[in-house]
């Protein structure tokens, strides 16, 4: 615990130091880099210690806050999230340090200190053992993230996106307030220590099933807005593209995950849920997963596409959570363990590969100054490191073998199958639905990243002159580390899987015996071995082919030349046309529209064609609601006349009413 507290103290100290040394830009950025590295490494050490020793540590500060208390605890679940957060913050921070070097005009010191402050409150958030402290940290993270999103605040679209994010996050927090008050009230009802907001005390009291259901729905609403469950995700696709790339990486990798942490914490505290909660989670997972990847297919901007993929991955995580909860409710320990472990590992994996993808997208944008996929192309030759690292991230996010996404998705799949073989009708129906959804997600994700990678890195440039592009080698180092983690988990999953199993056993309150652990891990290792053999064979065959090709004559031509004598880069397959057949199948769900006509005849005239996807929940759910609220609010303006006398009358009428109501 000491390491963790030192890390917090160090980071807080650095925040103040950076604010006060604003004039000395060189020194400040040095402080930022040092404090970030030291702080997050200390946090990582403390987390690993807890995960390895399987102990949990508590820290009770002597200072009393007005309503809550400063009570931190590191159990396996918290430690796992501390680990995830620190790793990604460290890498994105180093990247951001180099990324923002040319933004001389901006107030970088403020950005750096807010970045560290955000890390501090995230660490407090995932270790808080008191509901009030939790909420304070939750709000502070929201505010810090807001200031990081609006880094380029001279543009109107950025300010608008930040505003949307702020509103969405606060709406969610409202539900959280009610939820924690209900939980506290329950403690009072069952005769516990009156009005305790401590998680430990909440843990000891039993919750009745209907109350647990109500709390669960509030948790879904409150945490779901931040996390981006499908109908409530509207802020994500707006906020991610406008933020600087390293901020998008932590936004997508960490900040939306704290909602998942919150859900897990609630599940840990309440334990007994009605069955429909698990079904609800499964359905949310399916909708978010499939919906997220479908919308991603329809995007033309790289960071917006990645933002929708975050929703898709949240869907996969939620599927894992749902099946874990199902197992927990039905006392099926294996399913519970596998489901939660899959969800947790995917949390970490998504943080790593989505971080990697956003950072490489940032590298592309920095080099070319655009994120529009239909303007890019052929970058692999000029940005080789970025391109190959993007490929690693893409393969991982698609859940292909040898990379980390495969391991976590395999755990979720296994939980689903394990539950299906209980041979109960409910389990078979829902699990097979979830399996179908999961495989659909996997397939569509591959299509989507084939499109993204193909359009950006392969072929020829569509608009820009690629020759002058240069790769900034300083960016690359953090990305290489992230890519390495992807490969490490994919090839040697044992360490991380045993970590997440410990966290999962804390959540599901299942005793983790070595037999269960080896039953889960040993197939993974065997499978990895088989796959490694397969890959080895493919590599050998590829080498053989290359050697044999050397003997025959080969002719080099332009990419996508298609046998024309004078091909231009405009003849290439575009990203939109690549996605079009799939989008056409789902056009009713997506509101997919194509404007313009295809050219016809032997001598076609000039034609323009463009395809768009309509965001259904934004257009058809939230817009009408907000318009309705605005309409009602404008009706309420009648009472605001401007006469002081009338306002006084309102006051006296209200006071009298209160008095009479109190007495009668």
């Amino acid at each position: 615990m000491n390491f963790f507290l030192y890390s917090l103290a160090f980071l807080v100290f650095s925040v103040f130091l950076m604010l006060f040394s604003a004039r000395l830009k060189k020194i400040t950025s040095g402080i930022f880099l040092c404090s970030l590295i030291v702080g997050s490494v200390l946090a990582i050490i403390s987390a690993i210690k807890v995960l390895v020793n399987q102990t949990s540590l508590d820290y009770h500060a002597a200072l009393r806050m007005p309503i809550g208390e400063f009570y931190l605890g590191l159990d396996a679940l918290s430690a796992f999230f501390v680990f995830t957060i620190s790793v990604l913050f460290l890498m994105s921070g180093i990247y951001g340090y180099f990324y923002l070097q040319d933004c001389e005009k901006k107030n970088l010191n403020a950005h750096y200190s807010i970045y560290n402050l955000c890390l501090v409150f995230l660490l407090i958030l995932v270790t808080a053992k008191n509901a009030v402290l939790f909420l304070i940290a939750w709000e502070m993270v929201t505010v810090c993230a807001y200031f990081m999103i609006i880094f380029y605040d001279q543009q109107k679209v950025v300010r608008k996106a930040g505003y949307l994010y702020l509103i969405a996050a606060h709406t969610g927090t409202f539900c959280l307030f009610i939820m924690f008050l209900l939980m506290q009230h329950n403690t009072v009802l069952s005769g516990g220590q009156a009005g305790s907001m401590n998680f430990d005390q909440m843990l000891l009291t039993p919750f009745s099933l209907p109350l647990a259901g109500l709390i669960f729905v509030l948790a879904i609403l409150g945490f779901g807005v931040k996390t981006g469950f499908m109908p409530m995700h509207i802020w994500l696709p707006h906020a991610h593209p406008v933020a600087p790339s390293h901020v998008s990486a932590i936004l997508s990798g960490v900040i939306i995950k704290i909602g998942i942490y919150g859900l897990l914490r609630i599940i840990l505290i309440i334990k007994d849920f009605p069955q429909w909660c698990a079904v609800l989670l499964l359905f949310i997972g399916m909708i978010s997963g499939v919906g997220g990847v479908l919308y991603a297919l329809g995007q033309h901007e790289i960071k917006k596409l990645l933002a929708y993929h975050s929703i898709e991955n949240i869907g996969i995580i939620t599927l894992g959570l749902g099946i874990g909860l199902w197992g927990q409710i039905n006392q099926n320990e294996m399913v519970a363990l596998l489901g939660y472990a899959g969800a947790l590992l995917h949390v970490f994996n998504h943080a790593v590969f989505k971080g990697l993808l956003f950072l490489s997208a940032g590298s592309v944008i920095k080099a070319t100054h655009t994120g529009e996929m239909d303007k890019l192309g052929g970058l692999l030759k000029y940005l080789p490191w970025t391109g190959h690292l993007f490929l690693i991230g893409a393969v991982s996010i698609c859940g292909l073998p040898l990379f980390n996404g495969f391991i976590s998705e395999w755990l979720v799949y296994r939980a689903l199958f394990e539950n299906m073989f209980q041979f109960k009708i409910n389990a078979i129906v829902f699990c097979s639905l979830a399996i179908i959804a999961l495989s659909l997600i996997g397939g569509l994700a591959i299509a989507c990243f084939a499109k993204a990678f193909g359009a950006i890195f392969l072929g020829n440039s569509r608009c820009l002159d690629n020759k002058q592009l240069k790769e900034n080698s300083l960016f690359i180092a953090p990305m290489i580390v992230l890519g390495g983690i992807c490969l490490w988990i994919g090839l040697f999953p044992k360490t991380m899987v045993s970590f997440v199993l410990r966290a999962a056993s804390v959540v599901s309150a299942v005793n983790l015996s070595p037999i269960k652990q080896s039953a889960i891990i040993s197939p993974l290792i065997t499978m990895g071995f088989v796959l490694a053999l397969l890959i080895l064979t493919i590599v050998i065959l590829g080498l053989l082919k290359k050697i044999s090709m050397n003997f025959s004559c080969t002719k080099k031509a332009q990419t996508w030349g298609c046998g024309y004598s004078l091909p231009t880069s405009r003849m290439q397959y575009t990203a939109s046309s690549f996605a079009e057949p799939i989008l056409r199948i789902f056009r009713n769900i997506l509101g997919f529209t194509v404007k313009g006509n295809k050219p016809s005849g032997y001598f076609p005239k000039e034609e323009r064609i463009s395809a768009h996807v309509v965001e259904v929940s934004e257009e058809f759910i939230f817009k009408p609601i907000f318009q309705g609220i605005q309409f009602l609010a404008s009706k309420l303006k009648i009472i605001q006349v401007g006469f002081v006398q009338l306002y006084l009358l309102y006051i006296i009428a209200f006071l009298l009413l209160l008095l009479i109501w109190k007495i009668v």
Partner: protein
């Protein structure tokens, strides 16, 4: 017996202020009401504590504030409250109704100390309500100030319930608040007059969407 008489007189003076449309006599009536008010502590509990409060109240509410208000109406040269928001007759009827409610409420209130007088709480309520009515129904800034002061008189009566329990310092502090409040309002009245050429709050409606 004397206390009840004084309280009833205070209420009557309040009603007279409400029904009056000449600013000068309103201020005079207010001064008279304050004089009666300031001797109530002596009637409830004669002693040094009550004596000090009486003297300070007389100085502030009977001498200083009426002087300030007279200076203000001379300065902005206005005599009449011509167009009230609610007519005089209607205000008086409303006042009667609200006083009935005040008496009803006070009969149900659960008070810690009932020994002083059964009329004290209802009359305090009534004075507060009269002050409020003045605030709500009149436009002129001076009338607003008077309404505010009348309301404060009602609160003063309420505070008499706790006469021996509150330290002297607190009460002096409250009186100081009123003093500053009245001073600020006097300045505001002057400024409204300079800005708009009349001291009517009807001009102050710009602060809305």
């Amino acid at each position: 017996m004397w206390l009840e008489l004084v309280l009833i007189l205070i209420i009557f003076l309040g009603i007279l202020i409400l029904g009056n449309n000449r600013l000068g006599s309103m201020i005079q009536l207010f001064a008279l009401q304050s004089l009666l008010l300031s001797i109530t502590p002596l009637l409830i509990q004669p002693g040094l504590h009550a004596g000090i409060i009486t003297i300070v109240t007389i100085l502030l509410k009977v001498v200083f504030m009426p002087t300030l208000l007279f200076w203000a109406i001379r300065h902005v040269s206005m005599r009449w409250e011509v167009y009230p928001l609610i007519g005089y007759g209607k205000t008086l009827i409303l006042c009667g109704l609200l006083m009935a409610i005040a008496f009803l409420i006070s009969s149900k209130l659960d008070l810690p100390d009932k020994s002083t007088s059964y009329l004290l709480v209802p009359s305090a309520f009534s004075i507060v309500i009269i002050g409020f009515l003045l605030l709500v129904s009149r436009f002129k800034a001076i009338t607003q100030v008077i309404g505010y002061l009348v309301m404060e008189n009602g609160i003063f009566l309420f505070a008499l319930l706790l006469l021996e329990k509150t330290p002297l310092l607190v009460e002096i502090g409250i009186l100081l608040d009123i003093f500053v409040g009245a001073l600020v309002m006097g300045i505001v009245v002057n400024n409204i007059n300079q800005e708009f050429g009349s001291a009517s709050t009807i001009n102050l409606t710009n602060l809305r969407d």
